[in-house]
């Protein structure tokens, strides 16, 4: 039984990460969660009062007739009706005003973060993947990756957003609210993650055919791990050591791959698709659509249009030998 459970657990797909506004892992997420519960309980109280009011009115009513509505012909009844309606309107406006104030306060709390020594990350939306850049004034210290954002815990992270085509929206429910990525317009926001872990993110603004397959993840790590990751990402691509992988690199450089992708340290330097210099260090491919396994990668390379119809990547016909060599090469890009 235990063995079976163990096998089942191993057969399960990769944990896609936390994806829930009610399980925040960051202070901004906690503010949003708090606001959610406050509004929930206010609405709940209003709902209960309404139902009680209706029940009481129904019990008091002597006739089954709904129409005509009661008309107060005497002065006193008219006054009472005016008071009742006025009070109800007043309570409604006051409640809505309280909710408005709470929303503004929460928004302010979530936006105002201490920004001493923040990590700056550039997120550029593409149809349908995320380009992640860790900018640096020195070009050789700049990291470019895709779909997986590594951040140190308890450190403010400033995200500069932009888009290359249409409006996308950056949303990690367990960390913070949504932020639209507008083409040709840079904006910035910040967040801090407190608990290490993997947080799933998703494009939250309909951006075309594969909007639903435009995921990403935020991987929060202790500062040491983050720096180690950074050092690894700064290196150029590993050179293949055996003939099989060397042939794979030739396949990459003589087929359609190099028209769109970059592998730093080789001739491939196009910026249309994700940077593949450290492809093997990522957990998922195709914007969190497939696990980064040789099989999934092979399927993706041969016919991406079956997995994500409309995606920019074109189908590739490779002979089995070339494909295996290419996969062997991509596996060494740690």
């Amino acid at each position: 039984m235990i063995v079976a459970l163990h096998l089942l657990a191993q057969a399960m797909p990769l944990d896609p990460g936390r994806f829930h506004i009610l399980h925040p892992g960051a202070p901004q997420g906690s503010h949003i969660e708090w606001l959610y519960w406050v509004i929930f309980w206010i609405c709940f109280a209003v709902y209960v009062l309404m139902i009680l009011g209706f029940a009481r009115a129904g019990a008091k009513s002597k006739s089954d007739a709904i129409y005509p509505l009661p008309v107060f012909e005497d002065e006193e009844g008219d006054q009472r009706a005016k008071w009742a309606v006025g009070t109800a309107v007043g309570i409604t406006v006051a409640t809505l005003f309280v909710v408005l104030v709470l929303s503004v306060v929460t928004g302010k709390k979530a936006a105002g973060l201490n920004s001493k020594n923040p990590v700056t990350i550039q997120v550029i939306g593409h149809q349908w993947w995320w380009e992640i850049v860790y900018p640096n004034s020195q070009a050789d210290q700049t990291i470019t990756t895709a779909n997986e954002i590594h951040v140190p815990v308890n450190t403010p992270v400033v995200v500069l957003t932009n888009s290359s085509d249409v409006i996308h929206s950056f949303w990690v429910p367990s960390i913070t609210g949504k932020r639209d990525l507008l083409p040709g317009y840079s904006s910035a926001f910040w967040f801090t993650v407190e608990q290490p872990g993997v947080y799933r993110g998703q494009c939250a603004e309909f951006c075309g055919f594969q909007h639903a397959h435009m995921g990403f993840s935020v991987i929060a790590q202790p500062v040491d791990d983050f720096q180690a990751w950074q050092q690894q990402q700064l290196k150029p691509a590993s050179d293949p050591t055996n003939d099989h992988a060397k042939r794979g690199r030739e396949v990459f450089l003589t087929h359609a791959c190099l028209m769109c992708h970059t592998i730093r340290g080789t001739d491939a330097g196009s910026r249309m698709g994700p940077d593949l210099t450290h492809l093997a260090s990522r957990n998922m491919i195709a914007a969190e659509t497939l696990p980064n396994t040789p099989g999934a990668l092979a399927g993706w390379i041969l016919d991406p249009q079956r997995i994500k119809p409309g995606a920019e990547m074109s189908p590739n016909s490779l002979s089995p030998d070339d494909l295996q060599a290419l996969l062997a090469y991509l596996q060494i890009l740690q």
Partner: protein, 187 residues
Amino acid sequence: MRSHFQAAVMVAAFGMAALLLACSRENRILRQPPPADQTINTVQVSGLNPGANSIPTPPPSNLYQESAYAVSEGQKLYEQYNCVGCHAHGGGGIGPPLMDNNWIYGGEAGNVFTTIMQGRPNGMPSFRNRIPEYQAWEIAAYVRSMAGLLPKGVSPNRPDHMRVKPAESSTPPQSMTGITGSPEQHQ
């Protein structure tokens, strides 16, 4: 009177519904045929033809429609694959301009396709095996649209760069006598 009006409305509504049936979307082929089916090998590699009656093989005809979709995809690919690097946005530079109607190697879709796939002397590289065939056809459609060789209906509606003709919206309407103003008058 009222029932006549109602009947008229009903007939009109049914008529509109029937008209809707006649509408069909332009068919977009998102999943292109597998590359193994490509006709790449039929592209003529040399202009020399053996035999006395050397009739040159005609260039392959476009397997894909020169539709608005193909043109806008071609426009995107034209930038992404850095055609702009030499041909600019049609005005030329290192390479010849593409927005005029002078064609060194022919202006048919098949000619442009062959030029992209095989390359040409003095700089034009061959994109054979680099880009899939359907993308080359899309780029060819865009190149032809720049020279105004495609029907009006399929030109990309909002080109971001230089264009040969003024946009339709800035073209003066045809006057009653059938004389149109020249574009220069309206710039």
